[in-house]
Symmetry: C2
Subunit: 260 residues, 2 copies
């Protein structure tokens, strides 16, 4: 049983990839929709909330936990690993490895929330693999609200992306890593802005691929495919958003409340 | 002692007005920054969080509570009044009365978060005062993130406002009520778009004025002016944001955590 955690519904893009790439499996998804977004919060609060979410998934018998949330992966991974005795797969490693496979010039851009970029985690992980790589990172906090407004192909979103991506053009990156689960929905616009001259790496896809090779996953007994979604709040637009990210509606959705 | 509650730091615009209009007084401000924004959450969660915030202020001896948050005022006011034995002043009434004083054509526009607009509270409160008034309401969810990105005079913000405000032009409103504590920072741009043909009503200002006339306020013993800010999270950009909303830094800031 795989447990997937995200601050909101964006992690469903990872679930979608897992479902596409893997044999049938039971997936528990936990989205902290009552307290999202994490991207603007302090490290202390992100650690606390991420631990609570992982404990929730562990109690429900998840055997592996996937931190699909980039803000949580950037800030809380070591903390949660030190507290919880389950294998925890974060979204950073997979994206970094995929970006390193694609880059030729070793000039890589990263976009993400304020918390993700401020943490400097992407730079550190990249440098662990390859000291020569140049990382240009930028917080792009308006992209999540734009996706949630449904302005996925909107000219305003394109204008905002032009502003956010201009420094990457000047820095002549050849690869851009999408450091947030919402951003894959903007892949088409981002490609247009770079006129296909930059390779876009989608962490959700990279993460799902990395799970297939993960040893603990191989030990998991395959069962009937099932997707159960636990949310701390069920937003009225839930169905629309779920369909955007997941392409379908889940088997079961439950609202739960966590002790702080 | 006045307690002011908002989901984030936007309610500091109300504090600013109170400080400007009133004799020295002690103000306790509670901002639920760990769980903001409220505007996209369900009614159930907004009620629960608002009650917790009011209980927090009551325990710290607030004698009046001001709900500066429009989403909380729209959704949770009656619920909180039924649970807490303090006078609770909401931000809706004050704004509605101010708008009714200004309008000549009785065609009034309201902008706010999804939760505020979906609740239909503004329409109900307007109709209580005047059955003939026509209310045109629209959710404008990108405005809070744009203000928080600091794009207060940015051309993108102006473009987004043009899209959001176009229906109000077509409906020929003569008054626009700003139904969110963040929006007063966009007053200049909004006026430009309407070419000064529409009166803009700032609820924060209206609310502060209404408190002066509030009977319980008159009974409050005036003391040394003091502003204590309690936040459930202290975002790294706190100082910048506080200065934007408040124009100064508060005397004391404390991080607190609430039981759910």
């Amino acid at each position: 049983m795989i447990g997937v955690f995200d601050s909101g519904l964006g992690g469903l893009t990872v679930v979608k990839e897992i479902k596409r790439l893997m044999p049938p499996i039971k997936i528990l998804y936990f989205g902290d929709t009552a307290r999202l977004p994490y991207g603007e919060k302090s490290e202390e609060i992100i650690k606390k909330y991420t631990l609570a979410a992982c404990n929730f998934l562990k109690k429900r018998k998840a055997k592996v936990i996937i931190l699909a949330c980039h803000s949580a992966s950037s800030v809380a991974l070591n903390y949660v690993r030190s507290k919880i005795s389950l294998p925890i797969i974060d979204v950073i490693q997979a994206g970094v490895k995929a970006a390193l496979e694609k880059t030729k010039t070793k000039r890589i851009g990263v976009i993400g929330t304020r918390a993700t970029i401020r943490s400097g985690t992407y730079e550190r992980v990249f440098k662990n693999y390859d000291k020569e790589v140049e990382i240009i990172a930028r917080a792009t906090p308006l992209l999540v609200p734009l996706v949630e407004e449904g302005w996925i192909n909107h000219y305003i979103t394109k204008e905002v992306l032009k502003i956010y991506l201009q420094p990457f053009k000047e820095e002549k990156i050849d690869t851009l890593l999408l450091g947030c689960t919402h951003y894959p929905l903007l892949k088409k616009l981002i490609k247009e802005i770079f006129q296909n001259k930059v390779t876009i790496v989608d962490s959700s896809e990279a993460l799902a691929k990395s799970i297939i090779n993960f040893s603990s996953y191989k030990k998991i007994k395959k069962r009937k495919e099932e997707l159960i979604i636990y949310l701390t709040d069920i937003p009225p637009e839930f169905e629309k958003i779920a369909r955007n990210f997941l392409g379908l509606l889940p088997d079961k959705i439950m609202r739960v409340s966590l002790r702080e």
